[in-house]
């Protein structure tokens, strides 16, 4: 079965629509949403409604730190993120907020694990920045492949049976076979706010039969997404950074 995995959509309708279109064109059969549906972008209602509809049709979704911050004011965030999340809170209705609040922290599916930040302590929202961080997450689960997001930069880590780590920056559209016999941590790039220098939206396809993972990039209408952020009076940097991919 072909899974399409999306992370860190962040209220960016244009980017999410473009990714969904490509994933469907490439015959994805099941959809996984790794959290952070809202925050930063100017279309939180549409994104949450779309996610709710997808979950109703069998998609898997987990909670991100921005999703949590919509319902709890204790989350510590930087100033721009805080402004955006307060604005978002006012836009969502009760049903949408409840959907975000009730999302699970992680989902295990056969030998796969889906989580927003990493597997060792998902509620602490640690970033996977290094092989040491990746090792912590991999040791915490028996899963063959863990999928996570949160850091907005694609990376692929593996750990051998002798606990040796490898790290790799995946190449776009080059399938990599996630060999059995070692564990893998697939860190996804962001759909709605890429930060690896490439402004195109990022998502992942995973073939559960061949165990092949493919990191995909999708160009989208950045100008419209950025304009909507400016029109709504959100911090201008949130609009500017989209075209820079930072």
């Amino acid at each position: 079965m072909l899974l399409a995995v999306f992370s860190d959509i962040h209220g960016n309708r244009q980017a999410f629509e473009a990714c969904l279109k490509v994933a469907r064109a490439r015959s994805a059969e099941r959809f996984i949403l790794l959290g952070d549906f809202v925050g930063y972008g100017a279309d939180p209602e549409w994104v949450v409604d779309t996610a709710m509809d997808m979950v109703a049709h069998g998609a898997v979704a987990v909670r991100g730190n921005h999703d949590e911050a919509v319902n709890t004011t204790t989350e510590s965030m930087n100033n721009e993120a805080q402004i955006a999340i307060e604005w978002t809170r006012g836009r969502l209705d009760a049903a949408q907020r409840r959907f975000l609040a009730e999302l699970p922290m992680l989902v295990e599916d056969r030998d796969r694990l889906f989580v927003h930040s990493e597997a060792s302590s998902p509620k602490r929202w640690h970033y996977v920045r290094s092989t040491a961080d990746a090792a912590k997450s991999l040791i915490a689960t028996p899963a063959h492949v863990t999928f996570c997001g949160h850091i907005h930069r694609p990376a692929l880590y593996s750990m051998s049976v002798t606990a040796k780590m490898t790290s790799f920056v995946p190449k776009t559209d080059v399938p990599v076979q996630l060999l059995r016999g070692r564990q893998w941590l697939a860190v996804l790039g962001s759909v709605g706010q890429p930060r690896d220098g490439d402004p195109s939206a990022s998502f992942v396809l995973f073939d559960t039969d061949s165990c092949q993972i493919t990191y995909c990039r999708v160009p989208y209408d950045i100008a419209s997404a950025a304009n909507k952020i400016r029109e709504n009076g959100l911090p201008p940097w949130l609009a500017d950074r989209l075209s820079q991919g930072r």
Partner: protein, 477 residues
């Protein structure tokens, strides 16, 4: 790890196991058959039971990732793999014959034979590097030859694929590989430089032409590290008749710093195909190793060599193309030759590792017997070589980046196309004749080359003249 299921007569995923034909330290090889696959097959099975070297497992994982992605005549075709969850194996095409290892008792080989042999291996390496793979274990037992002549590189257990995770990157404290052939940068943990393979091929060429290994057979880390500062004995000090051009090629491959080696395997193959065009430098003259004072300076200044950016295999190949410019030095219009020089200069300016081959075709008559000497009695072939060099002088290219070639042929377009094909030229620059009368009469060489070449072609015309027709300046590439 499950027990191996592979034994004679067993069936795995539709493959029927035959006999074990090789039992090495890392893997065993079995003949297998499959009802839907013609031709001889081999199943490679890693030694992966408990207590075995973990290197065997990791290198087999690497091979399973890389083999199915390789294509072309220079690699064994891969038909299928099975993973460690059930039974790890890779089924590959069985290449008839033996590896180059069998030639060791015949060393040293005649220079000409070694030249042709290593040129074929360099062509295979070029093809592998184009597929983003660095072999990392080039040695006689990794090389076989097809009946049609192409070299086939086998064993990808230590290889690096630029588009895949490198499972060997952190696996071992010591660099893993075959000590006598290992490039010095490998000892510093560098695994992403395709020029490491050129070093290994240089070791092979040195060994095959002198009968001695340039860095001995030492397997200890201390013995291997010597190559970081100690240069090998120049081949000419071992064999008095060693051709200077061959020493130039060998020692360039064996340079300690990758940047001083050939930038690509294709450029090495080019020199091996045109020994008379090899630009001789001080390397070719050397009769002794560097004085100890120089070697010791290198030894104690290792840190100075350290910083290097991560290299990208595809980028490195793309920045080091072979460019051929086709010139008509006899009947060509001066404006056109000038326009060709301007275009060539612009292309070379962006590619500091490119090399330029200036090519001229000496047209032969179909019927009459050609005389080598012209009416004035001078040698046409040599005159043209001189003219080509003269044309290239203003480009101020380092001599090692320039070569000149006069082809003799009845049909110039076919000769140019063949030259581009044989020498793996990446880009042909050719002028279009302006005289419509001659073009109608003779047919357009540039049109045929542009239409039929398998590489990029830039067709150059001189700048528009005031009197030119509106379409006279069209450039297509």
């Amino acid at each position: 790890m499950p027990k191996s299921l592979v034994k004679s007569g067993a069936e795995i995923d539709g493959y029927t196991i035959g006999e074990c034909v090789h039992a090495g330290g890392m893997a065993t090889l079995w003949t297998v058959t499959h009802p839907r696959i013609d031709g001889p097959l081999l199943m490679k099975v890693p030694r992966a039971s408990e207590g075995e070297d973990p290197a065997a497992i990791v290198s087999f994982e690497m091979e399973m990732m890389i083999l199915p992605r390789l294509a072309g005549p220079h690699v064994p075709h891969c038909y299928g793999t099975g993973d460690f969850a059930h039974q790890a194996y890779a089924v590959i095409e069985r290449i008839p014959g033996t590896t180059l290892y069998k030639r060791l008792p015949d060393l040293p080989l005649p220079y000409e034979e070694a030249r042709l042999l290593v040129a074929r291996i360099a062509a295979a390496l070029a093809d592998l590097h184009r597929q983003n793979v660095i072999h990392h274990d080039i040695k006689p037992s990794s090389v076989m030859f097809r009946e049609s002549g192409e070299a086939v590189l086998i064993d990808y257990g230590l290889s690096h694929h630029d588009h895949l995770p490198d499972l060997l990157q952190a696996e071992f404290r010591l660099p893993y590989g075959t000590a006598p052939y290992m490039a010095p940068e490998r000892l510093r943990g560098v695994r992403d430089d395709p020029r490491s393979d050129l070093f290994s091929l240089g070791v092979l060429l040195y060994f095959f032409t002198t009968g001695e290994r340039p860095f001995g057979e030492g397997e200890t880390l201390r013995a291997m590290r010597r190559r970081l500062w100690r240069d090998p004995h120049p081949p000419r000090s071992l064999r008095a008749d060693y051709p200077p051009w061959l020493q130039e090629v060998v020692l360039r491959c064996l340079e300690i710093e990758p940047v001083r080696r050939y930038p690509t395997a294709t450029q090495l193959a080019f020199d091996l195909a045109h020994p008379t065009q090899v630009r001789l430098t001080a390397r070719s003259e050397r009769m002794k190793r560097d004085p100890l004072s120089v070697a010791w300076r290198r030894r104690f200044n290792q840190d100075a060599m350290q910083p290097r950016a991560k290299s990208d295999v595809a980028e490195q190949i793309a920045s080091s193309p072979i460019i051929a410019v086709a010139l008509d030095t006899v009947e060509g219009e001066p404006e056109l030759n000038e326009a060709l020089r301007v275009t060539t200069e612009r292309i070379l300016a962006t590619l500091p590792s490119a090399r330029l081959a200036c090519v001229n075709v000496l047209k032969l008559n179909r019927i009459a017997i050609d005389k080598t000497l012209d009416e004035q009695g001078s040698n046409k072939h040599i005159d043209r070589l001189v003219a080509l060099r003269h044309w290239a002088t203003p480009l101020k290219l380092d001599e090692s980046r320039l070569s000149v070639h006069v082809l003799e042929a009845v049909d110039p377009a076919t000769a140019l196309l063949e030259f581009a094909e044989v020498n793996e030229v990446d880009h042909v620059i050719i002028g279009a004749r302006q005289s419509s009368f001659r073009r109608t009469l003779l047919g357009s060489v540039s049109a045929k080359v542009a239409a039929e070449a398998t590489c990029t072609v830039t067709v150059v015309r001189p700048p528009r003249m005031a009197t030119a027709k509106p379409d006279a300046g069209v450039v297509w590439g």
